[in-house]
Symmetry: D2
């Protein structure tokens, strides 16, 4: 989808907003926004004990959380602070076991409408483009905030 | 799907298996198996700080985790300890904001084949049948363990 | 979900509406509405050459079409003629090969909101409760028509 | 995913296989394979009366069929004729109304394992990269045929 405009929020503004309004997803800075761009966002999940399965790989629920928040951030950066946007659907395919350590999520918005935003997220290990999981999700946008 | 047989494992056996092999999903006993039956399982997510959003309701990733583990337990109880069964796909629809407090997950297996098991999970507050979320998921079963 | 009210439209009204406004899904009456109820609908796909795979079983795309239209009919019956409601997401799991012949779809709405309706659909052969496929889907409802 | 090898089948071999073994998806050549490559395939749905909604745009079930067959063709071209590979799951998001006329489907395989293949498919109008729908799907591969 050709973006008409770049994002409204900078990387610093997004990180500050998350830190203030979503402390629960950033305790000790587990989730870091690495980049925002037109209809896109990249985040990192910093591996720590509570996200790991035996063997040191990130658990499925933590991958879900990473995909979900990256989609949220891509929307947030594009339309401005919308604390009330909510996930309505998320579909995730687990493709292969990740290497131990952090995970990167790359999100691209496929649609950013008045009421719904849809995006896809690739999860992969840093420096390895092979996806370990792929998700598509839908957020409902409060009236008056969508494009 | 008409079950040919009841579950192989009792509620006590399932809880003991999870406690021994999956300490990471049961730290402080967040997830409790409440019942297992033919092609079905019921679990409870005990609300604690780390699962909550502001307002005291269970977060999306915690609902994902609850749906995923309940599907796993329904398979486990039916075919016996299979630590290596892995989620390949999970699709979740978030339907309404839950009331503050615990959540119950009711899983029913729709297919239990040689290689794949598919089930659906309803998430709801205790004593309230209205679902707050609904998930369908697929597990891949290691060779030699499926029915 | 406890329905507040029964459906607004009768079985006859729904069939008449479909015949008038959706001739393309009812050429020769492939899709029949068998029942509508509070937040529910049942339809039948009458097996004919164009829906079949070799072996005489209904094809995947025809199962998709049946699930999709049954969800639409369940919404339609509940909120009245809304020709503009559109599918935004549909997730379908194919569980087992159907027997040759017709298929039945049983839909239950899980949510009927102001902007979105979500439902699940079981597809099975007449007289056999074992599902051959299971779908969940979301429709977007035009402003002013949702409940 | 870095492909180890290019496809086993050429474009001509794939089209000949479909014509011989899947006459029902190619009556009058509705579905054309335009290209196959490493872990990828491109197909075209030639708009004809039976695929259209009022207004001349391709219907949802026809988009589902196009996504499903393109995923099948991407697998087929990579591992050779496997008539028995079957769809186990397909999730589709409808993003915007297509322009009247043909649709193109671009499929990329995300995983091609021993037992399961997973891919994503973008549907768009010819010459317009904006997707009208996006699907992810899983095929089960018969024993002995997967990579």
């Amino acid at each position: 989808m050709a973006p008409q405009t770049g994002p409204l929020m900078t990387l610093e503004e997004v990180n500050a907003f998350l830190l203030r309004d979503f402390p629960q997803i950033a305790p000790g800075r587990d989730f870091l926004v690495e980049a925002v761009g037109p209809l896109s966002a990249r985040m990192r999940l910093c591996a720590s004990e509570k996200h790991l399965r035996p063997g040191g790989t990130i658990s499925g629920p933590s991958m879900f959380a990473l995909a979900d928040v990256t989609l949220y951030v891509a929307i947030l950066a594009q339309i401005g602070p919308v604390a009330l946007a909510v996930t309505t659907n998320l579909n995730i395919n687990f493709l292969r076991r990740p290497a131990p350590g952090d995970l990167i999520a790359d999100c691209r918005l496929l649609k950013l409408g008045k009421r719904l935003a849809v995006g896809e997220v690739f999860l992969h290990s840093p420096g390895d483009e092979d996806p370990v999981a792929h998700a598509t999700g839908t957020y409902s946008i409060p009236p008056g905030r969508g494009l």
